[in-house]
Point group: C2
Chain length 487, copies 2
């Protein structure tokens, strides 16, 4: 955590700079105030306390997971999710509810099977990584070469890789900030491309996940047009352990894999949008984002049904507040985060002209876990307002963590447009037990933690939409990007 | 727990009865002593302390799970397990190592698929129960009727069951003594037969397990020749939750299931036996039992690879002790516990003539968890010796719990022959998270808990094999059977 004194210092400096400006000796007019009044903060506390008694989000999540379920972009489940979201937003009283069409890639899982043939026959729990090509119908049978990570792969002589199946053994570390993910996920993103370039026939990776269940973790591969495309599968952690044990015998390990996943033509999905209009400046917006798509193995409860439900319920609470804030709250449920950020990129492109009307963006896409910290990416003179916002969340245990917010995967696409963002850090230590697995289901969600998340976003959105001066433009280049990649 | 004072009372009563017998005033000859000398107890403590430093069992378990893996009776994996066990016992210095052939049933899983069609389409994680017949190739499609348990089924009018799929919703409770299992497992054992008799087309049950993973629990159905046989599948707990949620909407829920499991002719497996010969009365035996077969979904790490490894390592430690006990330790690795106790029944039948040579039997079949209690089933005059045995385990946290041991599933088959038994109760609170699922793998096993179990059985076996008077014959009818069914 950054020192609070240091951050307060920045805020005071900003205020004193403002005090040197020509109009500074007089109180700024109400429309340009950089901080909140006691009355505004009191209203935010009311919203917070109502959120802590409200299960709208939890029930929305139950409905999404039970009635829609898996919703990989471009599938019938995805279309059902779009219809569900439009229906829910309308039923909850949102205005300007609409679907904005988004082109999405179309990859279908098929079936996959991994067997060890020798020295000791075993069947492994495995899944295809998103984007993996199929194997030939007869499968691929080859000796397994274990490699820790991409760095080690680069040091191995190509003759040891050619005609083999490369097994990436690196294990993701559990951490409250989810930082193990960024380090481990590189082999999922680029392992197949790098191993394919060196002559390997296929790769298997140890699942990028912190659990010990025989439920492998899928996730997208990054594929460039020049890449050699080879099949890429993930083993569950227990199966990776067992494969390592067989390799430790020193005998050659032969594996056979089959996979029938396939690509089809791009198809259509949609960003689903609904608004709670502001009472004074309805054209100006605070964006609350989450993604509507999910991986196909589970029902996308934490990833990112939770975000969809939390952001929708937070905006609805604001819509029902005794006094609405000055600006509009826009909920954006993005299409296809998982497989290439299609919805966020389309939104950034198509709404670029109104970037100046976007006062602040936030995203919930790390499950419904305990809120721990607030980060911002705002001009220095807005930090006192951010600290006031955090002060309303302090009773929930939320500390201020610095001005290095990323906006996360989807809303992060708005940062290059100069749109300020905040991140709510939550305890990520259990998220990667479930992430991208069949186990990401509603029973794993704690309703009290859902309420806490709704409370945080409702407070932040209410206040952001009511700050007279807004948040200016986002600082362009962060000193650090503390939040991990979360896709 | 029974009161220790009460049990001591029984023991003292037994001693005073002995004191009234004709030869009682003199010390009994060494060959009939009913209690242990300090020297015997000291040797048992030595065995215990060596066990607490020894990873033979853990490494045996690693080998069994990695090099053999799943070993459902009658499969190639089962044959590999028999070969593995013979090899290991010989390599560890056991004598009279042999396989005694046992006829076993032959059921094969095939593939199963469960989909909800309406009101909201979903695919469920499901497995066939052991023994389930296949569905017709086109599957079974019907409305789902939820029923809590067999009692509720009996109260429902048959017209509501005919042509339907019955869904048993009852949930297993977590408990240290595993007692939730016995209550919940009745629907797995008899649900299909009872629902079939009432006209249902098939059943699905909520998994008999305490976890929240999308890894359903299999297990045997009990089928009598007069039963109407209908397909029987288990849903994972999260899928059962989701199905209940759809049912709670009040709309009819239609399910489609397909299952391709099949029966073949009975085939052969074997009980694998090895001995550590006694130094004075080698024909007399203490039996250490576990079962070599496992369900097919996992690698049978806790169920019952742990028992195989623990009992083998305990006997080996005794074989390596400075002084071996008077009698022989016989390790019996039973065939096909899971699917009908074939090995235990064959052993009881074929060794009935030498029942009188079996001094005591024990079984490890509740995973490698923390030892908590010792139960016995011995004549009252042997209770002081049992309490001495427990005293050596007391530093490990093992209390004495009563004279109501069952011998568990396999060794329990010896009790009708009058063979005394002891049970080591272990903490069963996590066992049913994994039991009969794909998740029962080596990574779930704690090596320190394996050592503690080995220490307990090694102490009990060493002392039992060295008690001059032996344990007489087992009391026939227990007042209660406290240990739960564990299959």
């Amino acid at each position: 955590m950054r020192s609070r004194a240091g951050l307060l210092g920045i805020g005071l400096l900003a205020l004193s700079e403002a005090a040197c400006a020509p109009v500074a000796r007089a109180a700024p007019p109400a429309s340009t105030a950089l901080t909140f009044t006691d009355d505004q903060l009191a209203r935010a506390r009311e919203v917070r306390d109502r959120a802590l008694q409200d299960d709208t989000a939890y029930e929305l999540l139950r409905s999404l997971t039970s009635r829609v379920g898996p919703r990989l972009a471009g599938t019938p489940g995805d279309a059902a999710a779009v219809a569900w979201a439009l229906e829910q937003l309308r039923a909850l009283g949102f205005q300007n509810v609409r679907a904005e069409r988004v082109k999405v890639p179309s990859w279908r899982r098929g079936e996959c099977r991994v067997e060890l043939l020798s020295p000791w026959p075993q069947t492994c729990a495995a899944v295809a990584l998103g984007g993996s090509p199929a194997t030939p119908a007869a499968g691929i049978e080859a000796e397994v070469v274990p490699v820790t990570n991409l760095d080690e792969l680069a040091r191995i002589d190509s003759s040891r890789l050619a005609g083999r199946i490369v097994f990436f053994t690196g294990r993701m570390n559990r951490a409250t900030d989810g930082s193990g993910y960024g380090r481990a996920v590189t082999v999922r993103s680029r392992g197949a491309a790098e191993a394919g370039r060196r002559g390997a026939l296929a790769i298997v990776i140890r699942s990028v996940g912190t659990d010990r269940n025989r439920l492998p973790h899928t996730g997208a591969m990054r594929q460039d047009s020049s890449d050699t495309r080879i099949p890429a599968l993930a083993l569950s952690n227990p199966d990776a352990d067992m494969l390592e044990d067989q390799l430790a015998s020193g005998r050659p390990v032969r594996m056979r894999m089959t996979n029938t996943s396939s690509w089809a033509d791009s198809t259509w999905s949609a960003n689903v949008i609904g608004e709670i209009p502001g009472r004074e400046r309805p054209r100006e917006l605070v964006v609350l984002g989450a993604h509507l798509d999910s991986w196909d193995l589970g029902t996308g409860a934490h990833d990112d049904g939770a975000g969809v439900a939390i952001m929708t319920a937070a905006a609805r609470l604001i819509g029902e507040a005794k006094s609405r804030p000055k600006r509009t709250i826009r909920v954006v449920l993005f299409a296809n985060e998982e497989f290439g950020l299609s919805g966020a990129r389309a939104y950034a492109r198509e709404h670029a002209a109104e970037a100046g009307l976007h006062v602040l963006g936030m995203e919930s896409d790390l499950g419904a876990y305990l809120p721990l910290g607030l980060r911002s990416r705002v001009p220095a003179d807005r930090l006192p307002a951010i600290r006031q916002m955090q002060s309303v969340l302090a009773p929930l245990g939320v500390e201020y963590r610095g001005n290095d917010a990323s906006g996360d995967a989807d809303v992060g696409q708005l940062v290059p447009l100069g749109i300020p963002v905040c991140d709510l850090d939550t305890d990520a230590s259990e998220y990667f037990d479930l992430h991208h697995t069949a186990n990401d289901t509603f029973d794993k969600v704690d309703p009290l933690l859902v309420r806490k998340n709704v409370a945080c976003y409702a407070v932040l959105a209410w206040l952001a939409a009511d700050l007279p001066a807004g948040f200016g433009r986002a600082p362009a280049a962060p000193a650090t990007t503390a939040t991990p990649a979360r896709r």
